[in-house]
Structures are given as structure tokens and as C-alpha cells.
């Protein structure tokens, strides 16, 4: 695949590709470092609720985020820290949401990976798998109605999420409306503990593309270059009006479902299989072998990522947590239609 991308003679292009690769790598690295930090804070018992990481899925995720432009729509799923950074989500959003800071986009109301900024095209997933895709469809259809065309919507989902009725209805809907939607499936071979043979019986989930009249693409989820290329092409096609696209990438989650889970249901054989290498390491090796960068520089980047992470965490740790007395206990935007007086005064603040 390299030949295609860095074809001899296309020096300018190959320079651009190398730069894209490096940019992607730095984002993956930042995501990995941030994820590692969340894991350690979790182990220290300082995070409320679960922690969900994207370890091993950064190549696909970053490719998704990088393929998009300002004005596009991104609906990340639970393992898309890298894609979020690539799309432009500030590190602070992640940290603030995990800590429940009132300065974060979710203001302590929702947590961990359930964050976003819908008005900036970054959707805040609900937990119910499959439910975000039709929302992206609605955004894209509206832009068409508003004659604001040219943007693409990209929704991430897992192999397990593809079994939901919600995902089916939305993929079919996108096909019918010929929307510029790209659905990126991270087939990490497990949904929580459930292996894909208990999840679906088709050969590969790309077989679903035909079922909905979408264009299907396969990618190697451990290979950054391939992910950049395949997702990039899918996004380009969608943007060019070629209708909805389905990208399926195979890979392995290199962590538990959440940090509470040791993933002992994934066999050592699977974990050590050559095709399940860590995408970050693979990318690093490639950078060094191509001499696009040096070990020193990579080390500086890692330190930089570490510093940004630490800064964000120490900033957020000094930020206010929600005050139930100051909280507006109101789910409606229309204040005068909210019902009051039925609910108790706030209770004690201790856990």
C-alpha cells in the first residue's frame, strides 16, 4: 500500500503523506498518553464510574478524525480518544468530563466518553449503541435542505454495535437518502467479552455495505497508513456525492472493555498474533525505518504529550465540581414549562 501512497516521482505528495503520518502519529501518541493517565487515575480510585480506553485502536480512530474538516460532523464511540483529538476536541474536554468539572462541556452531568459539543459538529454519544448514526443522518439531511452542502458526517461504531436495530435502521436510512455519511466500524473482535462468532455470522461486516446500498471498504486497523488511506478515500467519496460509505477495520483492543476488566477472555495466542501488533508501535517503527523522524524527536513528542496531559489534569483538579445547590435542576430548555416543587431539596454532599 505504501507504494501507492508514497509513489516515487510524487515527491510533493509523498512529503505531504509523510507529514500527515507524523501528525497522525503525534495525535495517537497524545491519545495513548492521555488514556494511560486516565487508567492510572482510575487505579488510584479518583475517577467516578468507568474508564474506557482506545488502546490499540488509535490508528483507525485518528484516521477518522483527520479525514474530517472544520464544519464536518463527527460521532465518536467509546474508543475514539485519538479521533476526538484529531477532530479538534481539547484535551481539557476529556479531563473535565472524567472529573465532572463544571467547566467541561458536560458540567458533571454526564461523564467519561459521553461528551461532545454538538453545535461544533462533535456529537455527545448516549450509551445505547447504534443510536448516534441516525442523528448524524438528520444533521446531514438538514444541511442539504438548508443548502449547506459539502460537509461529511462520520460515525464510529464497534462490531457489537452493528447488531443493534438502531444501527440497521440508520444505515438503511442513509442509503435511501444518499447522505454523505461515513460509518467506520472498529471490528476489534470482541464486544465486551463476546467474540464476533457470537455476534454475527457474515464473513466480515463489510458484507453489510451491499445490504444498504453503501460502498464498502476494508482496512487494516493496525496499520496507520492503511487507515489514513482507506478512511480518507471513503470520506472523499462521501464528500464528492458518491453516497454513504462503510469502512470496516480489523484490529484487537489492547485493554479491557473498561479499566475494571482484565480481558482474560482474550487468549494469549490472539494477543500475541503478529496481525494484532500495537498500531502505535507499528507506526513508530515505520517512522524510524523511513527516517521521517528520529528517536529523540519521538521522545520529545512523548514528553510533550505527557506534559499536556499532566497540565490538563492538574488544571482540572483545581476546578470546581458541581454544587447541587447551584445546579439548575431542569431538563427543559423552556423554563416556564418546567415543573417545580415536586423534588426534594439537595441531600448531603458526602458519598
Amino acid at each position: 500500500m505504501l507504494q501507492t501512497v508514497l509513489s516515487p516521482g510524487a515527491v510533493g505528495e509523498s512529503r505531504a503523506q509523510a507529514e500527515l503520518f507524523l501528525q497522525a502519529y503525534r495525535l495517537m501518541l497524545q491519545a495513548r498518553v492521555l488514556d494511560d493517565k486516565f487508567a492510572s487515575i482510575y487505579r488510584a480510585g479518583k475517577i467516578h464510574g468507568g474508564v474506557f480506553l482506545g488502546r490499540g485502536q488509535e490508528a483507525l480512530s485518528v484516521a477518522s478524525g483527520l479525514a474530517l474538516r472544520t464544519g464536518d460532523i463527527f460521532a465518536p464511540c467509546i474508543r475514539d480518544q485519538a479521533g476526538r483529538l484529531a477532530f479538534g476536541e481539547p484535551i481539557l474536554d476529556a479531563v473535565r468530563t472524567y472529573f465532572g468539572s463544571t467547566l467541561g462541556p458536560m458540567r458533571g452531568r454526564d461523564g467519561n466518553i459521553h461528551r461532545g459539543r454538538p453545535k461544533e459538529g462533535l456529537l455527545a454519544m448516549i450509551s445505547h449503541l447504534g443510536a448516534m448514526i441516525s442523528v448524524v443522518n438528520g444533521m446531514l439531511l438538514s444541511r442539504r435542505m438548508q443548502k449547506r452542502e459539502g460537509s461529511v458526517g462520520l460515525a464510529c461504531i464497534g462490531d457489537g454495535g452493528m447488531s443493534t436495530g438502531a444501527a440497521h435502521e440508520a444505515l438503511n436510512q442513509a442509503g435511501v437518502e444518499k447522505l454523505p455519511l461515513v460509518v467506520v466500524v472498529a471490528d476489534n473482535q470482541f464486544a465486551y467479552s463476546t467474540p464476533t462468532e457470537r455476534q454475527f455470522a457474515c464473513e466480515t461486516l463489510v458484507d453489510r455495505a451491499d445490504a444498504y446500498g453503501l460502498t464498502g471498504h476494508s482496512a487494516d486497523g493496525t496499520n496507520l497508513e492503511d487507515c489514513l488511506k482507506v478512511v480518507g478515500q471513503a470520506v472523499e467519496k462521501a464528500r464528492a456525492g458518491k453516497g454513504p460509505q462503510l469502512v470496516v477495520a480489523k484490529l484487537l483492543r489492547l485493554c479491557g472493555h473498561g479499566e475494571h476488566d482484565d480481558a482474560n477472555y482474550i487468549s494469549a495466542k490472539l494477543k500475541n498474533a503478529p496481525e494484532h501488533r500495537d498500531c502505535l508501535q507499528v507506526a513508530e517503527e515505520r517512522i524510524l525505518s523511513e527516517r521521517w523522524s528520529t528517536p529523540d524527536e519521538l521522545e520529545r513528542w512523548r514528553k510533550d504529550a505527557q506534559r499536556k496531559t499532566d497540565d490538563a489534569v492538574s488544571t482540572v483538579q483545581r476546578e470546581p465540581t458541581p454544587d447541587p445547590f447551584a445546579e439548575k435542576w431542569q431538563a427543559l430548555a423552556t423554563e416556564n414549562l418546567s415543573e417545580a416543587g415536586e423534588t426534594p431539596e439537595p441531600g448531603p454532599m458526602d458519598i
Partner: protein
């Protein structure tokens, strides 16, 4: 001119489409066909590209509407029958209803639910769903009982910055007529005294308002004056108007067509007894449908739901206490 409840719904949508370019309609067969009940008749022709047929995918219909709302649109989605909204339930209560609270982005969608029993419709084309949705935070649930309210409340539903569950009653579609469309309306969230009376309060909403009014007429011939309160919306629920009525009458019967457990009638009685306990001269009572699915055969159907007769019976028992 004479206009039906159903025509009022069509007219409200026509007006919403005409006056606000952000409005569009999405639902099964709502386009050229004009909808299973013709509530969108001719709208696809009058507003090209803004009245769209959906696949049989209620979950994705609701999801699409939510996305449209995020982009500043004001979608109206029509469920072919309220009963089928169970399939969109998750998107409505967990995505639409939480969006503003979670992200600060309002979700102005209107979900039109053709609700309620009609003869011969059976368990899956007859349900009323107001309690189901009102239970959840983040939604407004409207239950218009009159042609005027069907019109004005639907326009307000579209204008409101929150998800509105618009429960339109199929039994009223063709039967209920008015001379003209209203030019003004009570604010959303305010109940209406549908009939003034001093002896007891009957609280009802949607089609049951008419059964309650008929019951009140029957009671009048026996010398009782029942006050009938039409809730208009069940969330928010206008406790003040109900309590004020009970303050005048001292007696309360609450009537709903929904299943008996929980729901509007329980909520009304819980509120009145909590806030206006001392006003009651007799135990408050409620009358709901029976605790079985809605039956198909008219003999059973008529016995399953409250009617003028059973309301009057229940009212007499309260009045004699």
C-alpha cells in the same frame, strides 16, 4: 366553514411550514400519500422537498429528527400510530429528552402520535401513550381535546425549544368539528375549565373530556353541577387550576383512557392530595381503562375504556359521600 380536529392538525402543519423554513415533516407515507389519516394531505405538493416519506424505521426517524434539531431545524415526525412509537422510545426518552440537559443544545422536535382507541382497532392501534412519555424528564406532553387546541397547541409544539410529544386522539379526528380555527389560545401548561360546576371536579384530557362533559350533562338532569377540567397538557400538568377547582367543589374524579397503573390520574390525585388535602370533602377517585390490552371487538372496547355512563356512575358515588 366547518373544520375537523384532523383538518386542524393539517392546517397547523401547513401554517408551520409556511411561516418557518426550519420546519419539515418526516414519517411513513406522509408525502404524496398525505399520511395514513391524511393529516399531511397535499402538504408535500404545497411544500416541495419538506414532507418526506420515511422507511419503516421509527428509531431512525426519531434519531434523524434529533439531528435535524441540532442543525437548527424544527422537524415534525408522524408516527403512523402512537403504538409504534415504542420502537422509537429509546431515541425519544434517552436521546431527545436528555440532549438539552446534557449538552445545552435544545432539541425542538415534535412527535405526532395518533393515539387512543377507536372501535375495531385492537391492542396495537389504540394505545394512549401520554403517561409513558410524561414519566421522563425533558419532554412536554400535549393532549389536545378540542379542534382549537389541536391547532394552536400543534403550532406551539413546533415553536417550543424542547421535544414535544403531541398526542392527537384518533377518535376525535373526524367527529369533532369547529366553525373556525382559533386566533388565540391559552398558554401551554394551563388547564381549561371546560364546564363550570359547584358540586364536584372531573379532571380529564383528550377524548375523555367529551365523555366527562356528557357525564356532566347526565348529572345535571339529576341536579348535580359537575365542573370539568381539561388538562390540555399532562406535562407540565396544571396543578394550580385543578386544586383551585377542587377548592370550589370539594370533590374530585380523575378520568383517563390509559391503563390504570400510574399515569395521569394517579399523578393528579397525588398532587391534589399532597397540595390540597384539606380541600377534599370526599376521597378522590379515578377511572381508567381496564388493566388489559385494548380489545378489538366493540363490545369489549366500549367496556374497556371509561365512558360517559361509567364516569357518571363514578361521579354519583362521590357525590353521595
Amino acid at each position: 366553514m366547518s373544520i375537523t380536529y384532523l383538518e386542524a392538525i393539517r392546517e397547523a402543519q401547513a401554517k408551520a411550514l409556511a411561516q418557518d423554513p426550519r420546519v419539515f415533516i418526516y414519517g411513513q407515507d406522509v408525502g404524496a400519500f398525505g399520511g395514513a389519516f391524511k393529516a399531511t394531505k397535499n402538504l408535500a405538493k404545497e411544500f416541495p422537498g419538506r414532507v418526506l416519506d420515511a422507511p419503516i424505521s421509527e428509531d431512525a426517524m426519531a434519531g434523524l429528527a434529533i439531528g435535524a434539531a441540532i442543525e437548527g431545524m424544527r422537524p415534525i415526525i408522524e408516527m403512523q400510530f402512537a403504538d409504534f412509537s415504542t420502537v422509537a422510545f429509546n431515541q425519544i426518552v434517552n436521546q431527545a429528552a436528555t440532549l438539552y440537559w446534557r449538552t445545552n443544545v435544545p432539541c425542538p422536535i415534535t412527535v405526532r402520535l395518533p393515539c387512543g382507541g377507536t372501535s375495531g382497532s385492537g391492542p396495537f392501534h389504540s394505545q394512549t401513550m401520554e403517561a409513558l412519555y410524561a414519566h421522563y424528564p425533558g419532554v412536554v406532553v400535549m393532549t389536545p381535546a378540542t379542534v382549537a387546541d389541536a391547532y394552536s397547541m400543534l403550532l406551539e409544539a413546533v415553536a417550543i425549544d424542547d421535544p414535544v410529544i403531541f398526542c392527537e386522539h384518533k377518535f376525535l379526528y373526524y367527529h369533532l368539528k369547529a366553525d373556525s380555527l382559533p386566533t388565540e389560545a391559552l398558554p401551554v401548561g394551563k388547564a381549561r375549565i371546560a364546564r363550570v360546576g359547584r358540586d364536584m371536579t372531573i379532571v380529564a384530557y383528550s377524548a375523555m373530556v367529551h365523555e366527562a362533559l356528557a357525564a356532566a350533562e347526565e348529572l345535571k338532569s339529576e341536579g348535580w353541577e359537575a365542573e370539568v377540567v381539561d388538562l390540555r397538557s399532562v406535562k407540565p400538568l396544571d396543578t394550580d387550576t385543578v386544586v383551585a377547582s377542587v377548592a370550589r367543589t370539594g370533590r374530585l374524579l380523575c378520568v383517563g383512557e390509559d391503563f390504570p397503573w400510574g399515569g395521569v390520574t394517579a399523578e393528579v390525585i397525588a398532587r391534589v392530595t399532597s397540595e390540597g388535602f384539606g380541600l377534599l370533602d370526599a376521597p378522590p377517585q379515578r377511572l381508567n381503562a381496564k388493566d388489559t390490552p385494548v380489545p378489538y371487538h366493540p363490545n369489549l372496547w366500549l367496556a374497556h375504556r371509561p365512558s360517559a355512563r361509567t364516569i357518571a356512575d363514578a361521579a354519583r358515588k362521590i357525590l353521595r359521600q
